[in-house]
Subunit: 455 residues, 2 copies
């Protein structure tokens, strides 16, 4: 007999957790909708070749591949065996696994845009909230199945999109109660100008990957990494002095202008950041020149949202502009900008700061106590009247001891018990008991719906 | 370069489709919530041994198995090779695939209950809406990834649960506009009594599987199948006369009583059906003695919901009572009853009957036309005011030709365009154009939020 268990790194979500997660997701997506973002859903599986080679060598290893069906069928056996030998050599496994589980939402979105661009209304604004799967080593806060929540707009170069995405972050986090979150902004154009100064624009990715680790490993280790990545001493020096630029947003941007003199890229980067800052006055955004984002497809403004300082949870979102989303799928020149929300981290932040509203757990308004037949028949009719009026309620299905029925209400966080014994029914009333205070009230049965409509 | 494509039998859902699907799912789950059902989510993957052997030999073949990672690592190579040879013999593949994608929601629910029963509040009522995966041959209306939508209550024998589930079907289908759906009811107890009369109670599954095909293959073929399944001529005769019982619900139930005389099972079955009928007066339920449900775990009342006759789409839901949900996972004696909704079929029914409300596609109330700088700055401020008031709107991000901007509004189903040129701004007004009628109205900017709040 199978002892029941869950695969490593995977989770069941109980009602309480689902409600908390939905509270976060509903809050975020309702803000996205205010800005005209529309939902998209893509399948859990993609063709293997859609995903392979898109996430670097390490990423490829973490993709969950789905075994083809019918492999041992005699007519497939030769191909299967050949595919297996390739697998054992660490090569392409498409003969065994044509499909794989999606690893993020960006590549499936790119595949969707490439497949459907003729029919899409551009600019195309979509949000997407779906699980993704990674065969990472499970650890605290890292799961093999987790939900991503992205908003992207493609087909528009206007910086108003960056402005709106900043406002979406601000509105969503404020509505979730974490107005002390911090939004950081930088520009890949400025970082590319820095790479030019450090030996060549093509070093931008190498440079970004190293700088991106600053928060985690500190400046000395970043210097070491830069040296290891082939930057020489004087180039590392330039990078270091860049990372040390400080002051207010405007002071930093002035310093950048000075440092890069008439470099066009740097000055474009500064102007873009200025545009976003000017159009988001009233919301706090920090220019952070050490913000790099590890992913190599960003080309313009980049964002990172950090949890409030007090909870020490780091990044709760990030994004940026890219110039070529779909080139890998044969459709070049599609620019766009997107952000994502780190749902599991945000969940942990709200939990730690005790910010989930208690009301989201009160899913049922009242429990009708089962007093046996015929009383329960009358109770059931009243339960139906409440439900018809949109008030969630239950009648305990069995006539068991009252204290057990009350305990059921308690465990399910049901605030009121409704007692209708023979005596109450004869008087056309119900006893409504507030289970938090113990207070009991007689309510006329003809007013029961009204009574709970006002609660 | 990868030519972008989708795996066979899988679908992208565009915004329009997501909204229609969510309309169905929100309607159904909101009804389930009125009855105290609570959400549960389980992972996409289960351990292979949780799933294998639960769906019959054919089902096992249709389970999507997920390849283990690190198989070609030298330290795993011997085990991998042994696992592969087993796979080629059509045997257990756990050495290659420890995990598989869930095939339905019932077995993961059983696994969850078995793992957590100590902490669950019984009776435990859960609903679950998640995708499942089957490696079926794709065909019209049958997909390899599809959403199941189930409600189950375990830990209560009370027939009030069957009553409430009938009412959930009725309320949900009525709210969706298909009040002409038909709900059929039967009892596995009556069918077991029939099996007893036809050679033994243990023939119930064989009998049910054959009867279940009546709708599709007709009576003559069912007779053939019963003969093939080892029933003799006189037993087939008994079954046939049972299937021919007709008349009103009460006439059928009376005929059953007569046919089975004092058989306890049959009379329990009749009484249970009577209880449900009596407690659901006002909603149409048909006693259908030919309803059998192919699945072998049902033991009491069984249900099937059929699409309105006019659309000829067959079953849009089904369910029933089972006596032993979790025995396979080491926890015997857990009874329960559940129903499920066939979301894809319901979608097709609403589509064909033109029942999706047009309003669900109107996600954005207004498009601010971009008249260039500085006008667009003023427009953007007004857009923000609308959004703050909870009104979804967009400003076209670029200053392109007006007809292109209007076309964008049209394609996105946005009903109003808001035009703020220099002249309008100077007069502190906006021109609001109804894009359906072409009618234009001047609205004072200070009243714009109010104007759209009333729309």
């Amino acid at each position: 007999m199978a002892k029941p268990g869950l695969p490593q790194g995977m989770r069941d979500f109980s009602a309480e957790t689902v409600r908390k997660r939905n509270y976060i997701l509903d809050t975020i997506t309702s803000v996205m909708k205010l800005y005209g973002y529309q939902p998209l859903e893509t399948p859990a599986m993609e063709n293997l070749d859609t995903l392979m080679g898109k996430y670097g060598e390490e990423g490829d290893k973490l993709i969950f591949k789905v075994l083809n069906n019918g492999l041992h069928d005699p007519k497939n056996a030769a191909k299967t065996r050949a595919g297996f030998e390739k697998l054992m050599e660490g090569k392409n496994t498409a003969d065994l696994t044509e499909r794989a589980l999606k690893y993020d939402l960006t590549i499936p979105f790119a595949r969707y845009v490439a497949m459907n661009h003729g029919n899409l209304t551009m600019p195309f604004k979509r949000y997407q909230v779906q699980p993704v799967w990674r065969a990472d080593r499970p650890q605290r806060g890292r799961y093999r199945e987790f939900t991503q929540c992205d908003a992207d707009v493609v087909g528009s170069r206007s910086l108003i999109n960056e402005v709106e995405l900043s406002l979406i972050y601000h509105t969503a986090f404020t509505q979730l109660g974490i107005a002390q979150y911090r939004l950081k902004i930088n520009s890949r154009k400025i970082l590319t100008a820095l790479a030019e100064k450090c030996g060549g624009a093509e070093k931008i990715n190498s440079l970004s990957i190293a700088i991106d680790k600053l928060d985690k490993i500190g400046l000395e280790k970043v210097k070491e990494e830069l040296l290891n990545r082939g930057f020489n001493d004087s180039q590392v020096e330039i990078a270091t002095s860049f990372l040390a630029l400080s002051g207010s947003n405007q002071e930093k941007l002035e310093a950048i202008k000075k440092l890069f003199e008439n470099n066009e890229l740097a000055s474009a980067g500064v102007n873009e950041i200025n545009y976003v800052l000017q159009h988001t006055s009233g919301i706090p955004i920090d220019v952070d020149l050490t913000l790099a984002r590890g992913l190599d497809y960003y080309t313009g403004i980049i964002f990172e949202a950090k949890a409030p300082e007090e909870v020490k949870m780091g990044s709760i979102g990030g994004g940026g502009r890219y110039d070529d989303l779909t080139g890998l799928f044969g459709l070049p020149g599609i620019t766009g900008v997107g952000i994502s929300f780190g749902i599991d981290r945000i969940y942990d932040v709200l939990e730690e700061m005790n910010l989930f509203p208690a009301s989201i757990q009160q899913a049922v308004s009242a429990l009708f106590i089962n007093m046996g037949t015929p009383e329960s028949e009358q109770a059931f009719q009243n339960a139906q009247a409440l439900r018809t009026a949109g008030i969630a309620c239950e009648m305990y299905p069995e006539n068991i001891k009252l204290d057990k029925q009350f305990r059921y209400a308690d465990k399910k966080n049901i605030p009121f018990a409704i007692i209708m014994g023979a005596q109450e029914i004869a008087s056309n009333i119900a006893l409504v008991k507030d289970l938090a205070t113990g207070h009991q009230e007689k309510v006329d049965l003809t007013h029961l719906v009204e009574y709970f409509s006002k609660k």
